[in-house]
């Protein structure tokens, strides 16, 4: 079996038809990774399995990020204080996507009999940071649609990949799951474009709130609320300092589109501000 060659279990995890939550690294606003980081802090995630990178990732060398050597990771975790979910936090493979996605589903279904899967991620939008975030749900079959109605997600998305773009790996996974009869749902939250290369705790919180309610995780958001207040305060300070930037953000709040130059300048100024700002 593919799974025996490509994935292995190295820890204990109780059985019980859990839901698989899939988070890809490096999405807009780092939403998926920050959701996993938060769940780790609050629930204590324990690694129990992984997918071997051979065949799925380029292993000709290594990438360096933030001064550190990186290596592709695809690891399964389970929370020590919740047994109704298991989590895959993974880099997106660079080849053999279909086989990689099947390896995930083989591993999750054969070993843990997962009943459904959720993916989480951010999408870049031309909105302002103070505008309310929207969580969109895309299901791969009707089964989950009714279940999701109480969680305040938008369930009426119409979309087709525009020319020059490609579908997300989450869409590909939902499609593979559908072919295998596994119900799946993609949860997407919009991230203002000028925060997409940084972090957007507001958007992360929106996803976490849905997961918290759906899976009764009992998450404490006070720490995240402080982070959100700090982000808003910092952006407020930047807006006071730069009237042009302030005007552009206000335009976005009123739903007025910026020109390409204006948008680029706004993203650059915000990135510069946060990258040069001393931590804390």
């Amino acid at each position: 079996m593919i799974q025996e060659q490509s994935a292995r279990i190295h820890g204990k995890r109780g059985a019980g038809n859990p839901t698989l939550i899939v988070a890809w690294s490096h999405d807009a606003g780092g939403i998926a990774s920050s959701v996993i980081e938060f769940l780790d802090k609050k629930l204590g995630l324990e690694p129990f399995g992984e997918i071997e990178p051979v065949g799925f990732f380029s292993l000709d060398g290594v990438r360096i990020e933030d001064d550190l050597i990186q290596f592709p990771e695809s690891r399964f975790f389970s929370p020590s204080s919740a047994n109704n979910i298991i989590i895959l936090h993974s880099d997106a493979p660079s080849r053999e996507h279909y086989r990689f996605l099947n390896t995930i589903l083989d591993f999750a279904r054969d070993n843990f009999k997962v009943k459904e899967l959720y993916t989480v991620g951010g999408i870049v939008s031309a909105s302002a940071h103070l505008s309310p975030r929207r969580v969109f749900a895309v299901v791969n079959g009707r089964e989950l649609k009714g279940e999701l109605a109480p969680y305040g997600v938008e369930l009426d998305v119409d979309y087709r990949t525009p020319a020059g773009s490609m579908p997300t790996l989450s869409s590909f996974l939902l499609w593979v799951a559908k072919r295998r009869g596994i119900p799946g749902c993609g949860l997407w939250v919009n991230v203002p474009f000028y925060l997409s290369a940084l972090a957007d705790p507001i958007a992360s919180k929106c996803i976490l709130e849905v997961l918290d309610r759906k899976f009764e995780l009992g998450l404490d958001f006070r720490e995240l609320d402080l982070e959100i207040a700090k982000l808003n305060e910092d952006l407020e300070q930047l807006m006071r300092r730069d009237p042009d930037l302030s005007r552009h953000i206000q335009m976005l709040e009123r739903g007025i589109a910026l020109s390409e130059d204006e948008g680029e300048k706004l993203a650059q100024e915000v990135a510069k501000f946060f990258l040069t700002k001393a931590p804390g």
Partner: protein
């Protein structure tokens, strides 16, 4: 990894004519034009998800309806005196194992249908001028076919090309398919339509080369096809090429124009342009395009 059959036609020793995208889509346009002109019918397709990343997702009312992948389809046509299978791939799979796997799948279908001969088509980047009629480089995968292909019209073999010693490369599936066919004992021929070296730098098709390939195929298959659509496309592209050509600085154009007198095919008698001249012309042209088509 597999093939989805829509029907299984009974065919008598068909020839397989296959193409994937390549430089100027020369081969693909030739094969797809022939397929369209003969109104060949779809009968099977490669399941694409093992080979390609999807190119579009459609979501309606919050429900993921489908993913769209590049298509790789088989068609058939009974001509009376000859049966044909066409294979048209919208995208080449990534290199290495995937290319080999796709070539094997295509040949599995060909063998299942009793196919005994395979044609592929592609571009041959050559030192010719765009006002010249492109010839067709013909590369068989077995010695047995050499004497036959020499009788085709407007063709050259690799051994006819000065300085090549009969050697060269065909990149991608248009070549690999014939290598895998050779391994399986299936005869095959690659038809490479000449494309001027400087045009291959432009993101444009080159229907003139496709037309030359089609002329060889039509001759070999004993058929006549309506080429008017391809000729119209050729005229339109010709106008675009002429516009681009006029944007090239005059001194580079002068070098390119000298290609009209270059014959890179081995000659019994020395031509008007010496080997050194040819090298200098090509060097000047290549240097210009290496700089991204900009002067210093």
């Amino acid at each position: 990894m597999g093939i989805r059959f829509h029907q299984k036609p009974e065919l008598e020793k068909p020839d397989l004519i296959a193409a994937w995208p390549g430089i100027g889509n020369v081969g693909l346009i030739a094969v797809d034009t022939l397929r369209g002109a003969l109104n060949a019918q779809l009968f099977a397709e490669v399941e694409p998800w093992d080979f390609f990343y999807p190119r579009a997702v459609s979501i309606r009312g919050g429900e993921l309806r489908d993913l769209e992948f590049p298509a790789c389809r088989f068609y058939f046509k009974r001509l009376g005196h000859k049966d044909l299978i066409f294979f048209v791939g919208e995208q080449q799979p990534g290199g290495g194992r995937k290319g080999y796997e796709m070539a094997s799948l295509v040949l599995d279908v060909a063998s299942l249908q009793g196919c005994e001969r395979i044609y592929t088509a592609a571009a041959a980047v050559a030192p010719i001028h765009h006002t010249m009629k492109p010839r067709v480089w013909v590369v068989p995968n077995t010695e047995e076919l050499v004497s036959e292909v020499r009788r085709y019209p407007n063709i050259i073999l690799m051994s006819d090309i000065e300085g090549r010693g009969g050697e060269g490369n065909i990149t991608g599936l248009n070549g690999l398919l014939l290598g895998v066919a050779r391994k399986r004992g299936l005869k095959g021929i690659c038809l490479l339509g000449e494309m001027p070296v400087y045009i291959s730098q432009f993101p444009t098709p080159y229907p003139e080369a496709s037309k030359s390939i089609l002329e060889v195929l039509s001759h070999n298959l004993g058929i006549r096809i309506d080429l008017s659509t391809l000729e119209r496309l050729g005229q339109e592209v010709g106008r675009r090429i002429e516009e681009l050509y006029q944007m090239i600085p005059p001194e580079i154009r002068e070098h390119i124009d000298r290609l009209k007198d270059v014959d890179y095919v081995r000659q019994e008698e020395p031509g008007a342009i010496t080997e050194q001249d040819k090298e200098r012309i090509m060097q000047n042209i290549q240097e210009y395009f290496k700089k991204g088509g900009k002067e210093d």
